[in-house]
Symmetry: C2
Subunit: 404 residues, 2 copies
């Protein structure tokens, strides 16, 4: 029997901070086409190459005139010649010739041959219904700032400013290594006692949503040499490595021992469940997070331990989950010691716009199907003040941090 | 001069409802690989092909025993033989042989040769620390329901249930046709009086976010034949068509007239600004939304008139924007008649968790850069009850409906 007595157990917030403190990396930058930059993070400030409008522009469909003709009051337009005294002008288009004032078409009667006009209302000032040069954008204006997440509107702004490409932060490559003799790929025949590997697709989809690039490894059996090879390969190729299961104390759990041999172990366990068997280590310069095997634990620990690393790489400030104070709809009926237990909850708003928190049942098959209904974590046990029903108590919002 | 006196002006909510009421379509379905299904909408209920666990499974790292040995109290384990009296068992793995009970490794002293055990604590019941067959999933359990948006957790659930492919609603193809003689593609030389076409990238990015498939057309000049060709082609190829500008009354605005000739016009204008020159028509069975040219109007009208169509196609209930009651931080200093004016606002939460609404300045260059700071629309004018500072008043949340 191997000795696990030296295993380090940590609170998950402390555990995450240790990894963030130790992780040093060079943030990659790449140039992408603007239409491909949706959701990417700008790597540098971008300023406009254009001034818009670049000519006095009509902001109405109507006719363009010269305001000089109106200085003495209503002019006689019967002899006006189209082209020299007036011309049609259209919204968003530079004024024809040197005309300096626009009259909305609703104020004008135009002859059947489009050559003569009668004015029913006069422009009030020079520049009426026009937009001056540079009103919308000036060369040198900041279009996006380093660290901005590029939204549809910001992509439009980049185009306006004359940019068809933009420098963005490289997506961190995150390796995902599923391990375990009991695992079989989804869709393959499942012998008795075997289980489906279903965490890869879930974790890789999360990584995509968070702006990382998943690098999915095939299932690695519980074999020291094969695990060692996969881990060293992943630490070389990826910015962050996630290894799924094997952090526990089972007879075939080698993950922590391999990490200890080749790298620096931060912790072997979290002081709570689900997700208790979640480890962290540094293999060379690459953080390696061992997430627990059962899907619920895998889901929680990926959010807790991997998202802050992706956020840190991208320069986003997502490392600390937001807490809200809510009125608790229930009192705890158990109190775990010495670890904490984290349960899924729902924060909602009552008619008086007051926040409440309730538990989401942990049962229901498959449990992950109901997981998406939770928008918060409620923590029970060590270090938490025990509450009564009706008390105001802090709960932790769960990404994407939305309260309906 | 062409006659625009018959132009129909409508409130935007009424305008949208008219299009939704008239639109009949066949929702497409396609089969995709599970890892590619993130964010897609399930087209049908999917049930599990698997029962999990498919064998009594240990939920601890420890040893497997037969509870019969404990019926008479603490057994003498000194003569126990590994393999017949006990065996190692590991989390998530089917119990070895016919053993029915697990003992956590923390309760066990294992000899150096891994062949003998001493128990410091006894299992309390048959099945201790195990998970029965089918506890996590049973064949026939519903994994996802028709209409579910597929999240990372649901992709995992599909895999668990033995599915590697899933039927999803086809992304509606949405054509985007930018029009106008004044427009030049971003990055090209901009002659005086010309403007950059920057709406395509913005609108297409929105479509992507909403789950549609954009079909981007090149800039079409203000030429009847070319516009007619582009519109008829797009109505044939796409589920929804967005034509940008040309819905107004300018001398080169042919969009509405072409739509009138070939289809059925719902309205030519919205009774508000920005986005006043926004039209809707049915060309054959395809809805055609004319969005206004200036980027702010284009941004607003795409959200107002195009997103509900995409949502309807996908079967999502996003057609009606949610309203919230907020305490208004300001009184209006103008009141437009007969149209409405919509301004960008921010709904925020004060220390007492009370919702407030304030205006976001409309200036600042480029104005779309500041647009993303708005999370609501505040409407002034016809049909709206005028408020005083401090009044509670309804405001409309702006997608993605997040209040910080």
């Amino acid at each position: 029997m191997r000795d696990h007595s030296g295993y380090i157990e940590k609170d998950r917030h402390e555990a995450m901070q240790d990894v963030l403190d130790a992780w040093e990396f060079e943030r990659g930058v790449e140039t992408v086409e603007v239409p491909d930059a949706l959701g990417r993070v700008a790597a540098a400030d971008v300023v406009s190459k254009n001034t818009l409008p670049n000519k006095l522009t009509s902001n109405m469909d109507g006719i363009a005139v010269n305001f000089d003709a109106f200085e003495g009051g209503a002019p006689d337009t019967s002899a006006w010649v189209r082209g020299s005294d007036w011309q049609f002008c259209n919204t968003g288009i530079g004024m024809p010739g040197d005309f300096d004032t626009a009259i909305p078409i609703e104020w004008v009667e135009v002859s059947a041959d489009d050559e003569h006009v009668v004015l029913n209302r006069l422009p009030e000032h020079r520049g009426n219904a026009t937009t001056p040069v540079g009103a919308n954008l000036q060369k040198g204006d900041v279009l996006v700032r380093a660290g901005d997440t590029l939204t549809p509107a910001l992509l439009g702004v980049l185009n306006m400013g004359g940019h068809v490409q933009v420098d963005v932060v490289k997506r961190p490559v995150v390796a995902f290594i599923p391990t375990g003799n009991e695992l079989v790929d989804a869709g393959k025949r499942l012998a008795k006692g075997k289980n489906v590997e279903s965490n890869a697709v879930m974790v890789c989809a999360k990584l995509q949503q968070w702006g990382a690039e998943p690098l999915r490894y095939p299932i690695v059996p519980d074999n020291w040499k094969k695990l060692e090879k996969a881990l060293l390969d992943a630490a070389e190729k990826a910015d962050i490595v996630v290894i799924n299961a094997g952090s526990s104390k089972g007879s075939d759990d080698f993950t922590c021992e391999i990490l200890q041999e080749h790298g620096r172990m931060f912790h072997h366990m979290l002081a709570q469940g689900p997700g208790r068997h979640c480890s962290a280590a540094m293999l060379g310069a690459t953080p390696v997070i061992g997430i627990s095997g059962p899907p619920m634990g895998a889901e929680f620990t990926t959010d807790w331990m991997v998202k802050p690393l992706v956020d840190r790489y991208l320069g986003l400030s997502g490392a600390y989950p937001p807490m809200v104070f809510a009125q608790m709809d229930f009192a705890p009926d158990f109190w775990p010691e010495p670890v904490q237990v984290v349960k899924r909850g729902v924060v909602y708003r009552d008619e008086d716009d007051r926040l409440h928190a309730r538990l989401l049942p942990m049962d229901g098959r498959p449990v992950l199907r109901t997981l998406d209904q939770a928008n918060c974590f409620i923590t029970f046990g060590r270090g938490v003040e025990r509450w009564q029903a009706g008390d105001i108590h802090p709960v932790e919002l769960r990404w994407p941090y939305v309260i309906d």
